[in-house]
Symmetry: C2
Subunit: 278 residues, 2 copies
Amino acid sequence: MSAPTIGVFDSGFGGLTVLRALIARLPQARYAFLGDTARLPYGSKSRRTIARYAAESAQFLVNEQGAESLVIACNTASALALDAIQDAVPVPVLGVIQPGASAARAASQTGDVLVIATDATVHSHAYSAACDTLGLRAIEKACPLLVPLVEEGWTRHPVTEEVIRIYLDELRAEAAQKGLAPDTLVLGCTHYPLLRPLIESVLARSADPAIRVIDSAESTAEAAVQLFNGRAAHPPEDPAEPTRIRCFATDSVEKFERLGSRFLERPVGQVELVDLGG
Amino acid sequence: MSAPTIGVFDSGFGGLTVLRALIARLPQARYAFLGDTARLPYGSKSRRTIARYAAESAQFLVNEQGAESLVIACNTASALALDAIQDAVPVPVLGVIQPGASAARAASQTGDVLVIATDATVHSHAYSAACDTLGLRAIEKACPLLVPLVEEGWTRHPVTEEVIRIYLDELRAEAAQKGLAPDTLVLGCTHYPLLRPLIESVLARSADPAIRVIDSAESTAEAAVQLFNGRAAHPPEDPAEPTRIRCFATDSVEKFERLGSRFLERPVGQVELVDLGG
């Protein structure tokens, strides 16, 4: 029996951080990753359009790549299109938001949580809704400079550290104003795991009491192991075989190949171009 | 006889800096500005797709808004689709690249020119080609952090000043390595005029000999006055009437309205949503 294929989908290639966390836990699975780079950013598009794009992408992974389970490694699609994806394909589907919120619930003593994310994710209020359901109070902040800083490769740069310090100071000032005592920070964007060392160093210098960082890529991979366990755990043909990964993109293969390995922490190899239509 | 309408087109709303420069010179014209925000960024798309989008946008401005001349206030569309736009509409069309290069030619004593722009514009090498034709040697640098810094509103921020210093130091080091003596810097992105004060202050502290800044939005407005003079100069119905501007966008009207006034240096008013198709 061959190893099962897990499909991983993102509007861009940031979701490779989720794929990296999955591989660490399920190295013997096969993976098919699709970045819908031709149609990004999803964040500025309507819910209906995002649902259509995400459903088409999910169908490509299931019908053409044989994915037996799907991880939606895209905050915008998880926030706005999870139901549409579940309706479009007959396999289990997991988004990134619920696992991040659940991990925050497990970590927080005070019940007060900070969330940093892109503009689009914050505007969707998906994290605060998921946190609210779990009895947490969440304050969200859009940090639009962090994705371009990661893509510029400045993940250990003093400028990035200063930007993080400014954003976190503003966020904690807002929390204090509302009388909250946050002890947990959720990284609500698939680019942010690359900034985790800088974020933790800024917090270590300035947060009192301490604030624990929840990486939603890690939390999602944990949740995937639980959810897909029956499917992903059956033995591969050859246990010594390396993890098999195929990466697909709908455009901008060059940027994907150039930056992707930083997110995946291994070479992404050749990215295959696919056409899902306009 | 009513005042003529000048159509101004961008993939986003950065081109409002070009509209601002046009209004300063031709306050009695009517203006129709279209930002194709649903389909941005153009930079990651193929030449054929960009040509189709730009031609559709130009036709909207000419056929539906009565534009008698067009300014393409978008570096990517100017670089990759100027011919396609000229073929698509029966009115004079001006892009932003040629005027910027011509202004650099007029300003430079040494013939060595620096160009800063987005990734997409630099990859098109449109500025170096235009400079080369005029006998200039140009070195281009992609500065992908500057657009997000402008959109974050950090146009006078110490972080932005530090980022500009780093980019310009790298660019001048590259010029020195190639034995060039640049005395002119072209701002090859419609967002960058908002950073001109910071850029000039960084240059004043560090550039010796002095480097003159060419704002391609200003250069384009100058060129438009020359090119459209016959059409734009005929008197309006009432000279005391304020400039009439209509702004259109294909998506994200909220962000356009929120940020646009910084670029235009006056309220953009209500932005009208138009559907140009997929």
